[in-house]
Symmetry: C2
Subunit: 404 residues, 2 copies
């Protein structure tokens, strides 16, 4: 397996495009994205568990219920959530696109991201659709990524290539996500394409397994979005023998998928609203998997710990505090904590109590852009990793006037 370029266009048989149709007020960035598979693809998706669900999510769920899709259309700038006519607008969007592409509306996946509770006018989407479809190409990656961004500051993509039983298979994805990120059984907006030949059932199985330890372990601000969605398409053009059960081929695919999703997780956390640092909390020694996951995620979610990381302050007491209130089954008297980065490593807590350490070294370690928080629960064989970012002035600034 190797990392390659191309994101969602790395795999065979996909094209993409993005345009600025006028949903975003400033009209300087794309706000409408299309991803298209030249042949019908196995499709799988997971959605937010927030009871408040964006209308596009409900429409997508219906369209994808047969396990097949051809196209994904996404707008940014408006979440189409909590609107009386939301479903109607999402369905109309699919119909307009389906007509333009000569596919069935039921083969269209639709997603929206942006402000909640403002009616989404379908007019600019309708006006732009011809141009959006006309621009579909193998070079449309950048335009497509731009069209799904809101407060994101960098474009997020990843792709890998691997061999499965002699066939070259590619998997690639793009992601949007910067704030309101605290997935629960799903994630931000993530679109993954592959040319792997795999049944909808096995694709769904692979995605569901993977999301538990990737996107569900990312938190930027503890707020679970109403519009989270991760969608994968697999069009089979790699020509590998069909993956229709567990086994060696499936394992290879799942591992490669994980490589793409972990990369996207790290990119999303790095670009958390206002973030200056990526935090990766690696918990080992858990008595149960749940204990390891709960502990890792609680550390990543603690506002106090995140603010300390912004200030490069080795305030490990906040790590223990966050594990203590997490509900995880741990023995707090056995916990070891250390911080690691490109600048070195510093052990700060052993058996639940502080150890002498160099404040100077700790400051250097924590002044890097990527910080590993290593927690050993010393209580069993289970481990888990969670990703997050520091809490900064800019998070407050961005969210103090996002809507207006």
């Amino acid at each position: 397996m190797k990392q390659i370029e191309g994101g969602i266009l790395a795999a065979k048989g996909y094209t993409a495009s993005g345009i600025c149709c006028g949903i975003k007020k400033n009209r300087t960035k794309n706000d409408l994205t299309l991803i298209y598979s030249e042949k019908p693809a196995s499709a799988a998706a997971l959605y937010t568990q927030n009871l408040v669900k964006g209308a596009p999510l409900l429409v997508t769920k219906k369209h994808i219920s047969d396990g097949i899709a051809r196209a994904i259309i996404v707008n940014s700038g408006n979440a189409n959530t909590c609107n009386a006519d939301g479903i109607e607008v999402a369905e109309r969007t699919c119909e307009i696109l389906a007509h333009e592409l000569s596919v069935a509306p039921e083969d269209v996946v639709v997603a929206s991201t942006g402000v909640i509770g403002q009616p989404l006018d379908v007019t600019p989407i309708q006006s732009g659709m011809g141009s959006l479809v006309a621009k579909l190409s193998r070079e449309g990656l950048d335009d497509a990524i731009e069209g799904i961004m809101t407060t994101d500051t960098v474009k997020k993509q990843a792709a890998v290539e691997l061999e499965i039983a002699g066939s070259t298979v590619r998997i690639g994805g793009i992601a949007k996500g910067s704030g309101m990120i605290h997935p629960d059984m799903a994630t931000m907006l993530v679109f993954i394409t592959t040319d792997c030949n795999i049944t909808p059932e096995m694709l769904s199985f692979a995605l569901t397994e993977d999301v538990q330890r990737t996107f569900n372990m990312v938190s930027v601000d503890g707020d679970t979005s109403t519009n989270d969605m991760v969608v994968t398409l697999a069009n089979g053009l790699a020509g590998n023998r069909l993956i229709n059960s567990k086994g060696e081929d499936f394992e290879l695919f799942a591992k490669a998928l994980n490589s793409v999703t972990v990369s996207l997780c790290r990119q999303i956390a790095s670009d958390g609203e206002g973030a200056t640092k990526l935090l990766e909390c690696v918990v080992t020694g858990g008595k149960t998997l749940a204990a390891a996951k709960t502990a890792a995620k609680s550390v990543i979610c603690s506002s106090l710990f995140k603010a300390a990381m912004f200030g490069a302050d080795a305030n490990w007491g906040r790590v223990l505090c966050a594990i203590g209130y997490s509900g995880a089954d741990v023995d707090v008297g056995r916990i070891d904590v250390s911080f690691r980065s490109a600048a070195g490593s510093v052990s700060v807590c052993r058996d639940g109590a502080g150890v002498d350490f160099s404040e100077e070294l700790a400051k250097k370690v924590l002044s890097e852009k990527e910080i590993y928080v290593l927690v050993d629960l010393n209580d069993g064989p289970f481990g888990a990793t969670a990703w997050g970012c520091d809490l900064t002035y800019d998070y407050v600034k961005i969210n103090g006037d996002y809507r207006t």
Copy 2:
């Protein structure tokens, strides 16, 4: 019942003092506080549910197990948590004070607040104890409050006077709390004294009932402290007939206690780290009490909503979003939301969808210092109130360099 001055010294038979003994590095503010009852008092307490517990909490729990206490000693500047010798230092503190006061060490309540994981040196406490005891007086309120403050910017106190069966009873309290506030079966540091004649059992019952709807409904930053504690002393000097069961007298006492605790809750939330606004979320129409409480608390805890309030942005979608992911049993399609303050009232959402409203009026309403977020779930008879504050640049600033 009427509001009165005096905090913990409003009731008969209590004295207090506070000194700067040298635990806080800068030595400009008090860091050691003593509250003393001239006769043994019924005592009740609740503690944090964080698995990581400050050593003083464990010692207090033991000392208070017989339902009786005489004195409360509190230091700020160091939490005495996650220290190998923590219990020993807390016990030694009680012994030194007990010797000075000629009471039993088991009648001393001890509490600490400040940085976690730095050894607490008992030397300055020992050196200062004589002076602390010598300064005990009926005028010691301000000194005592100052001695329990960390990042607090204002002194928090409340007191009421009421008649119970012809006797005048007073209840008063002081509180410390600004960050790491997200109580779970207990609260920040709160000390309440009363001259009411009440058994330890009924005092404990009243406190436990009250905390569920007061301190447990406050959140500043979602981080449950390791040292939370609320302690009440009742020395009986009001001379009212003994309250040893439920009934009219108990109800009067409980109502007055609630008046003190609600006032302290509002003061704590107002003075949340970096806060510029008090947020009070009033949920009505819940199908269950749990649904109303969970919804109210989730709104108050949402970083996105809190940042929007800082920016006076009527982003009600974030209110719905927070209720949606809270786990509360609600029908999101029936929720009404409005904002109210001294500047007026504005309805922003009806039946889960937006309504037209004046952005100008909303901005005026949300620019006040006390904001009510009114949520009607339209789903039943239960209600709940939660208190919090906005998320500001200063929260990040305070917590980026708290320890160093």
